[in-house]
Amino acid sequence: MGKIGAFLNVRRAEAPERAPAERIGDLREFIGTLPLVELREQASRCMECGVPFCHSGCPLGNLIPDWNDLVYRDRWAEASEQLHRTNNFPEFTGRLCPAPCEAACVLEINEGDAVSIKQIELAIVDRAWDEGWIVPQPPARATGRRVAVVGAGPAGLACAQQLARAGEHVTVYERDEAAGGLIRFGVPEFKIEKRLVERRVQQLVAEGVEFRFGVDVGTDLEVEELRSRHDAVVLAIGSRVPRDLPAQGRELRGVHFAMEYLAERARVIAGTAPATISAAGRHVVVIGGGDTGADCVRHAHREGAASVTQIELLGEPPAARPDELTPWPLWPMKLRTSYALKEGGERDFSISTTRFDGRDGAVERIVWQHNTGSPPFDLVPGTEESRPADLVLLAMGFLGPEPALLDGLGLDRDARGNVAAARFATSRAGVFAAGDARRGQSLIVWAIDEGRRCAEVVRQWLDAGAGSREQPTFVSIASSRGTE
């Protein structure tokens, strides 16, 4: 239990950020954490609720009150233990998760008052790495069973780690040259430095996970061969088909999907690829008001764009939590000014892009019209505008997993085109799916949770198949191991 009544005396403190003017000059992370002493004060605000909505709001079911209390009591190593009990990669989530836990915090009933959970999480894990508390946890015994995980994004990595620690032999197949998926190739360096991803991958390797990079299953390796080489296969291939914008001029040069730009930036920064799309000195328009769009905005600033504009189809959300629509503890549909825009640029809402104008096959202007802000987004007459635009980035979300591999395996899809795998098992025996590929595009916390739970299902399936039925009682125990 935190400090009784501390929430009345200690105010919530946000994570410190480097000043925008300074941070756009480099590629280092710009959000930090408060000094540990102050964080302990922040943690003392946690009331250790009888019904901790934060813990429920967290897709991972992070034991937030438990580690808040430990931080308050200066017991960081134990806090790290508790944190890792539900979360394989807190240093990823502590940087990247939008923190639905904080939206659900009981103190957030008074909007803006939530415990600084995300910051505390990050501080715990960063300290744990610094102190050397995080070490590989190789299994006590090997089961001798082989599991393939396709995709080295957060879902795949979490699944692989859980399986490996339980003694399964895990091989991760990744078509890119490195692990991390969107964390590595989507999220910019200044949000999460890639050395952190690599550090975690090294832990997996030390725990026995085998990585095969540059292997595009279905192309480089026949799906059937993959299946036959392993006792089970987990597909964690993400949701990577981007939503397109069917507007006139879409084909012009300079109009790109956001991921093309972001992935390229990641490789350029890593020094593994040349730059082909550049925002330097250009008028950049980002279509899509989400996090991917924001990442594009920020890269554009750092490249030295002439101007950056971010537009969104939906109407401008209210500044405060709309209680009639998304009352506490739901995730509030309210305006969040992304840190990207703090660095500069413009933003507008209720914008429908009507066409791109170009010269010499290259985009030059964008033409749009305001809409009503909500479906079916009827255009408002007389609101047509045009802006210079020589780099347009489409960040309008993803539609679902890429079909080739799924079709190759002959897997059923659900209504939204994701892999149908209600309890992680697909329509094909021994083939499982987890993460965005199964649930559609979502948060990294969901991806990790999916990976973990899928690992459990895989193990149960393997146990059952391996003729371990004589002790059925123990199966249910295995399923609740760790957090029971």
Binding site: I4, G5, F7, L8, M47, E48, C49, G50, V51, P52, F53, H55, S56, G57, G61, L63, P65, D66, R73, R75, E81, Q82, R85, A104, V106, L107, I109, N110, Q137, A140, D323, E324, P327, W328, P329, L330, T473, F474, S476, I477, S480, R481, G482, T483, E484
Partner: protein
Amino acid sequence: MKATGLYDPAYEHDACGVAFVARLDGVQTHEAIRRALTALENLEHRGAAGADAETGDGAGILVQMPDAFLRSVSGIALPPAGTYGVAVCFLPQERARRLELERVLEEVVAEEGQTVLGWRDVPVDSRHVGSHARLFAPCIRQLFVAASPELANDAAAFERRLYVIRRVAEGRAGLVLPSFSARTLVYKGMLTSPQLGRFFPDLADERFASALALVHSRFSTNTFPSWELAHPYRIIAHNGEINTLRGNVNWMRARESQLASELFGDDIEKVLPVVRPGGSDTAVFDNVLELLVLSGRSLPHALMMMVPEAHAGRADVSDELRGFYAFHDCLTEAWDGPAAIAFTDGRLIGATLDRNGLRPGRWLETRDGWVVLASEAGVLEIPIENVLRKGRLQPGKLFVVDLEQGRIVPDGELKQQVATRKPYAEWFEREHVRLADLPKRTTRRAPAEPLRRLQLAFGYSQEDMKVMLAPLAVNAEEAIGSMGNDTPLAALSDRRPLLYSYFKQLFAQVTNPPIDSTREAIVMSVQSLVGSERNLLDETPEHARQLVIENPILRDSQLESLRQVDSEIFKAHTLDVTWPVEEGPAGLERALERLCADADVALAQRANILILSDRAAGAGRAPIPSLLAVGAVHHHLVRAGTRLQAGLVVESGEPRSVQSVAVLIGYGAAAVNPYLMLATIGQLVDEGRIELSREEAEERAIKAVGKGLLKVISKMGISTISSYCGAQVFEAVGLSSALIERYFTGTASRIGGIGLAELAEGVLVRHARAYPGTPGELLPVVGLFAWRRDGEHHQWNPETIALLQHAVRGGGRQTYDEFAAAVNAESARRSTLRGLLRFRVAAGGAIPLEQVEPAADIVKRFSTGAMSLGSLSREAHETLAVAMNRIGGRSNTGEGGEDPERFGDERRSKIKQVASGRFGVNIDYLTNADELQIKMAQGAKPGEGGQLPGHKVDRYIAGVRLTTPGVGLISPPPHHDIYSIEDLKQLIYDLRCANPDARISVKLVAEVGVGTVAAGVAKSNADHVLISGHDGGTGASPISSILHAGVPWEIGLAETQQTLVLNDLRSRIWVQTDGQLKTGRDVVVAALLGADEMGFATAPLIATGCVMMRACHLNTCPVGIATQDPELRTRFRGQPEHVIEFFFLVAEDVRRLMASLGVARFEDLVGRVDLLEPDDALEHWQERGIDISNLLRAPDVPAGTPLRRVESQASPLGGALDWALIDAARCSLEDGVTVSASFAVRNVDRTIGGLLSHHVTKLHGRAGLPPGTIRFDLRGSAGQSFGAWLAPGIELTLTGEANDYAGKGLSGGTIAVRPPLEATFPAEENVIVGNTVLYGATAGRAFFRGVAGERFAVRNSGADAVVEGVGDHGCEYMTGGHVIVLGPTGRNFAAGMSGGIAYVLDEDGAFASRCNRQLVGLDPLEAEDEAIVLALVQEHADRTGSTVAARLLADWSAASFVKVIPHDYKRALAELGDEIRYHDHPVSAGGVGFVTKESEEAA
């Protein structure tokens, strides 16, 4: 009546009025009979009648053998008196069967060498008996038996032989012999008190004479009183209840194999079993007492063994007597519970009281040589000139009249005589060994395993460490929780709870009081004994060879001392309670068999300390659940008759909580070494999680568990661990009957459940987590106290809470439906019994929704829970009240009074609660109620009191509670005016007087036997009974109470409905239920199981914004509900509309269900169990052996027997004296003119002034009338509750005496009680008024010229009183007012006193040792005090003519007074100094003993 459905006669209770008269000169007269019968009639209000008002619960009389009478009417040539005996026989009416039984009896008489002289039909006049009683009336005959020549000169031997004959005849043919003696005779039956004398014409015969007569009037909660169960028994009549009965019976049974007596010789075999099965607690007590007496002990001696007084640490107990008790502790445990026992063997007659003085008894001796004792004073009219002295029964004291010596033998003399019969003290001193004196041993070994392994194997969780263990060690207290328990019953949980969790603590409600183990610690004892017990009927120095264990929770080193003890006397043997894992679940049963066999072997090798140890648990061996091991060995040895050869000690890694230790001791362990718990605390210290030394942390934890243990036993009204040991005061929920029968024999278990196999699997699953386990495996989280995603299921979880809040804030029906679906489908089925039921459609099929009664009518059946202002913020409290008033439902004040400003508007709570603290309860409060609810228990902590810390008592709260700001408030565990069912009847009567228009409700908590208690409530004239589930409750409470006391409402409600219907009492009482009700489905299930109304607490709070922080006790509620913090209160966002919306959504849900069931009117749902059936589609619970068919059992009653309330209770106020008072006061009431008048009163005139006060208040409000407006002089013995609730402006002066509860809730009036001028006894040495006087008084003054009984001015919050001596526990829990005691006080004065001041005249300087100084200081008087004391003493002299007062005033010296002032109060007064000051005459009409400058100015 046999057990049927959930009704089981084993749980019936009774209490009563008792009286005796005796002539000191021993001359037999008929006058003694006449007087006894008159006394009995005057006690009639203490008895009860059933549904048939003419059938009494029982009445009877025990007299000396009326030799002359029998000689003349029997037609038998009787030998000399004393050489023949008379068997009073209850025989069947059916002739053949009767003759058969008579033949058997005659045959036994002959076998035993005695001579049958002949039979006499006892004439009866069956016009004087109720129709119900007539139905069961036996044929009553007397058999005359002549002593054989060798016995004719040995009266004792003849008496013994008659006893043997009776036992043999009882055993052989089930004969019922109310008495069989050469000395005494019993007449009794299923009669009311006035019927007794008329039913037996013998009793009216002038020739029928005796020198003594013992009478008894019975009030039974049981629905089927029987002729046999009427009192007196052969040597006793009893008023009270033995709480430790189950243990006493088991121990007695265990003793039988050792019984040997020179006096009985081989005959001893014939009288076994000593305890006749199926008897009531009194019958069982009588059985044992009789044996002790017949085997040679005197009656006082035997009683001192069975009901010892509290003697520990008392300076006024002689060494010999202390030694006597210590010695006899080695022979038998105490029979513990509230009891006034009147006894006689025909030569001695007397009475004794339990150690805590929880029953009343008043006596007087006349100048012409009579002694009268009765439950209350004034049962006989005796001219005052003839009264020599008056007294009362006192806690633990014996009151004995010896007819041979012709005098009352003083307690001290008598006990000293008994105590020095043999050198008991010397024997004990020489022979006993104290654990502390054994050689110190170091711990055998540190656990070889990493601690975490063992913790995993024993099912430790992270929560155990944090929520249970750390607070134990840090605070030396068990942790507190709040907001009830919404997790599944152990039997329904998927998490394989430990065996302890299946046992629910029983607790006292109504039929006996729980004890305050903190404030009344003087009666508590944790000492236990181990060793071999010897023949109970003998006494030798060797009997004292016992090992005394001062505290039943053993450290490792103490256990080692015990284990390694090796002497001629003591030998310990360690039994392994683990089994090989490879044997799997099946191995458990074998292991238990082996364990019992090992125990036999150990006993054969003369071991007398058996240590049941699971230290061998490890990779290959799994621990037997320690409770199972204890139960198995205990019952095995009881059955084998060897149980008393050894004590059981548990050495286990499993126990880690108060509950676990309590259950182990409750099932027979004498001591427990919870080694893993202690090691874990050590680990927490090492890790820095507890900042104490290991030693200190261990010390505190042991202390905390000990304290918790005392709380557990005290809530059942038990005061010593040695009586609790093996007393089995638990109900099992979810264990199979086979398991219970074998290992927990005699425990109630009503829904079946799991057996050995499932328990074994649970152990193995835990074991598998530890061995081999995963390195670095963390302890499981569990989430029992706070919700966790992968933890234990909670009905209130983020989903259900958010859905409910969204539903009432615009989400409407659709969101409500999602909420209800989540609750019903998921939670209920996984957690509650109602979840296991499904509906059956009525014969006619579904009906259209429009035909169903409108929701606006249904919501009128709903009320909100009793949550006090103080526990809730003002905002939250008023929101609920406004909402309920708007929909026509009812809100409840809770135990905290109500702001009078609310009485006139929609913030008024219709239900005004009357709880043990009586906070804010005055005549104004009572008058302004629609319903008065007596809270006997609350779901969160049945059997416990509460405490509101001073910092929460702000100015407003204090004003409403009529106390002082900043001073903490304690609610006692019991109502101090309800120690038994007839006391409840009296309180109901008091409340009827205070508000004749209000309906009276009694709140109970479900536990086994609640149905019979509810029947008693119905017979006590209540209109309404509330059966609360164990799981509801919002109040703060120790976690072991939240989790482990009480049972689900489904069981309690069904039991109540079945019992009430079976007895046809349901027709006159409403039944309500509550406990985690949330949805329309819950409401309909409750109605079908028998509820007319439903209460909700948590759900409406959640509607107003509660988020189940479960931090209500911390004052930090972040949503402004359970807090008094002004800033947090601003965060409250609830609106009445939210609550209204909730109830209408529920009601609409109910309507849809009703339509689908085909029932249009809600009242037609009530009791329709045929519309419910077990849901066979659900498998999990059936797999676990749960059987809920008893819940759905329709009582077998004639068609048309009402299943719901259809008529009102008869008003008991018809004959009240107050009508005459009101008539006399008519012009005062109307015009305020002063009036005075005189009245004669009797003890049957109860609650004098109550109704009058109601009328005053109704017309004149809280301020009442100006002082002295109504002055009445009364003469005689006033009945109970004299001057209760007396309103301002009324003065009652009683010349005579008053009984218990005088001045109860005094609300501003004035009372004076004095002996008549004609009295010749010194007033200050004689009792003038009974027990529990001025309980909950709020204002006014009272003057008593004479001594008062126990608990004078208990919980007084504002009255001023003068008295000339008080019994034990004076001024207990007092919070305000002034009490002046001009004479000696009893022990434990000022316990729990947090406010007010007492001034005690301490002329002998002995007061300090009798004062409980936990909360108070003793100061000299200051000038201000002196003024107060002088004024009151002067008034005392004026009003009562007190000679003590006159003497003091004549020679005034403040120096001989001691000022008793609570530290808290002193500080509060100092803090408030500027704003507040005492009135020099501190009485105010508002009832607050202080005024603020502000209010003074305003006035």
